[in-house]
């Protein structure tokens, strides 16, 4: 995983994609194996460990609080306050920063950052979730099926947002079922099958058929 590239993680249902990212993001404890960050072994036990290492995850079910507004969601768990838990929250600074972040990422579809997330559309919610992940000096952003529930126009918005993250030097891991999307955005394609990596493709010089073959296991693939 490098900065400034988009890696697509693909594989059939049950191939271990979601489990892998849950381990990396601290939502699950892995049974075995090691995670390397900048060449060093990293211990990730809880979600905040991953955050400290610069790994942010946008889950398939978004993990936003519907009853809170956009600002509260973007800063959830990381509010500006002089004293943990009991200090007053610096709402104005947070609101300003949220507007700036949405602005730099060209997220123009959110009408008001003081709106509750419940009243946003699927694409708007996904934009909020991705912007939140990108605003915390993240090195790597992991997106689990970011377009699964979206319409055509909204999908385009989200894919454009992913490219912008890459252009800003972030590493982006995208988990998806949609091969069309994979070829549209990914620089590198990693195929998982039954919990193991079975193939890695570069975007150029790979055909969708190769990827499908690797996913289904129709062809044994040598590591490239």
């Amino acid at each position: 995983m490098y900065g400034g590239e988009v890696v697509a993680l693909v594989g059939d249902n049950g191939a271990g994609k979601s489990t892998l990212i849950k381990c990396v993001s601290g939502a699950h404890l892995p049974d075995t194996g090691t995670i390397l960050v900048d060449g060093a072994v990293a211990k990730i036990r809880v979600p905040s460990d991953a955050t400290h290492l610069g790994i942010e995850t946008v889950y398939q079910d978004l993990a936003l609080c519907d009853n809170l507004d956009v600002v509260a969601n973007m800063f959830l768990g990381r509010e500006d306050t002089p004293l943990a838990l009991l200090g007053p929250i610096e709402e104005l600074a947070m609101e300003k920063r949220s507007l700036e972040v949405l602005d730099t990422l060209h997220v123009t579809t959110i009408p008001s950052v003081r709106q509750r997330v419940a009243s946003l559309s699927g694409g708007q919610r996904q934009s909020v979730a991705i912007s939140r992940a990108a605003m915390w000096k993240a090195k790597v952003v992991i997106l689990d099926e970011p377009t699964a529930a979206l319409g055509v126009a909204q999908t385009e918005q989200v894919l454009a947002l992913i490219r912008r993250l890459r252009d800003r030097g972030l590493g982006v891991v995208v988990i998806t079922h949609n091969l069309h999307e994979v070829f549209e955005i990914a620089d590198r394609i990693v195929v998982l099958r039954l919990g193991r990596r079975v193939a890695t493709f570069a975007h150029d010089g790979t055909s969708p058929e190769d990827v499908v073959a690797a996913i289904t296991g129709a062809r044994a693939q040598v590591e490239s």
């Binding site: 993990a63 936003l64 519907d66 809170l68 609101e95 507007l99 009408p111 559309s121």
Partner: protein
């Protein structure tokens, strides 16, 4: 997406029309907030005032304030746990147990009143932390843990009280809570000070927003709200101070205990403090977040277990404060109080005031508002000479009505894509 929403984002200072449209949209989306309770309260007051001309008299309003002290204080705690999307059925039992502990140590053991109160508050927090641990760390549903508490703590209370079943508490400091009122001048000072503070905070918020270039409400809107708050608080103080005796609808009474009753001041102070805690601090923000989506809160790195235990401790602390007010009013700790009914009235108050049973929606002011609604009905039926059974039936009907409104509002939210 409405035009109003879009404009709220763009213009640095929103026009009054835009604010009005925005508010209307939120109502349509089922964010009813305190509106049903306010309308209901107006209807209740009108109804009883027409039947009993002394309903809004100084004496009766003073009684009403005394009567809602216990329910309101318990309801503040209930609002906190409802925001977490949990429930606490034990508050009634916790409050009578704390009352019994206070009576035991102060009357029988000869402790000073302040050590007695410190112990009762400590017992409250300890019980809350114990129940919180059980439901947050052991993961037994809060309904069951606190149902066990409702039964168990009542048993402990009877054990603490001993064979007589009642301990009279005549300690002057404890008795003073329910029997004293704020001097008239202090009452005026409180009303003026509170209104000024409210205006100050609101206006400063908007000016600071404008200063840093964020969208702000027009100052006219802030001014109108401030004027309403000031008018209401001055009116209440004027009635309680007896200055409106015999004027207009505020019927004439002979005996008046002038001034704002102390339990009312305590309740107001608690409501203001916990309103601040829930809306302006991380602890409050996390309470709402967990109520909205516990999994999202956990993934955001929030220590969900610790927050749950803290909130249940605060709820039980409020229950022990309610126990203190109760002890003072009865001048006794007694087995005669039915903890189940006390608990359920507090829960009813929180829900009637506009806090959702489904978590993450509502605010602390709804405890005060709901307690006033329930108190106004009970007080009015008493004044009307109705039997206790009528009170229970009417309270039940009102609760059902307000929960139905909440359920419909929820459906409205879902329809609008929320």
């Amino acid at each position: 997406m409405s035009a109003a929403d879009a404009q709220l984002g763009r213009s640095p200072v929103d026009g009054i029309r835009v604010v009005a449209e925005y508010t209307w949209n939120r109502l349509r989306q089922g964010e009813l907030g305190q509106l049903p309770a306010l309308l209901g309260l107006f209807a209740i007051w009108t109804f009883f005032q027409v039947r009993q001309p002394t309903y809004l008299s100084a004496r009766n309003v003073s009684n009403l304030v005394l009567q809602i002290g216990v329910t309101g204080t318990l309801a503040v705690g209930i609002v906190l746990v409802l925001l977490l999307s949990e429930i606490d059925l034990s508050v009634g039992s916790v409050s009578i147990l704390c009352s019994a502990v206070l009576a035991r140590v102060v009357v029988d053991q000869g402790w000073s009143w302040y050590w007695g109160i410190a112990l009762m508050l400590g017992v409250g927090v300890a019980i809350g932390a114990f129940q919180g641990f059980w439901l947050a760390a052991v993961r037994v549903p809060s309904f069951v843990v606190t149902l066990a508490g409702l039964l168990g703590w009542q048993g402990v209370q009877q054990w603490v009280l001993g064979t007589t079943g009642t301990i009279n508490v005549n300690e002057p400091h404890i008795a003073a809570i329910a029997t004293t009122t704020l001097p008239a001048d202090w009452g005026w000072g409180l009303a003026i000070g509170a209104s000024a503070a409210y205006a100050g905070v609101r206006i400063q918020d908007q000016l600071r927003r404008r200063h840093v270039g964020l969208q702000a409400k027009p100052l006219v809107v802030v001014a109108v709200r401030t004027a309403l708050v000031a008018a209401l608080s001055l009116l209440v103080v004027a009635v309680l101070n007896g200055d409106l005796n015999g004027v207009w609808v505020f019927g004439k009474t002979i005996y008046i205990n002038r001034g704002v009753p102390t339990p009312g001041v305590i309740l107001l102070g608690l409501v203001v403090f916990f309103a601040w805690l829930t809306t302006r601090t991380q602890l409050g923000r996390y309470t709402y977040a967990i109520g909205g989506s516990p999994e999202a809160a956990r993934r955001a790195g929030i220590n969900v277990t610790a927050i749950r235990i803290t909130v249940f401790s605060l709820c039980a602390l409020l229950a022990s404060i309610a126990g203190l007010i109760q002890t003072s009013r009865l001048a006794a700790a007694s087995q005669a109080i039915e903890p189940g009914q006390v608990t359920l009235e507090a829960i009813a108050a929180a829900v009637i005031g506009g806090t959702s049973l489904f978590g993450g929606r509502g605010n602390v002011w709804s405890a005060l508002l709901g307690a006033v609604v329930i108190g106004s009905v009970a007080n009015g039926l008493d004044l009307d000479g109705q039997q206790p059974y009528v009170k229970l039936i009417v309270e039940g009907a009102i609760l059902l009505l307000f929960v139905t409104i909440d359920a419909f509002a929820r459906r409205g939210r879902r329809r609008s894509g929320a």
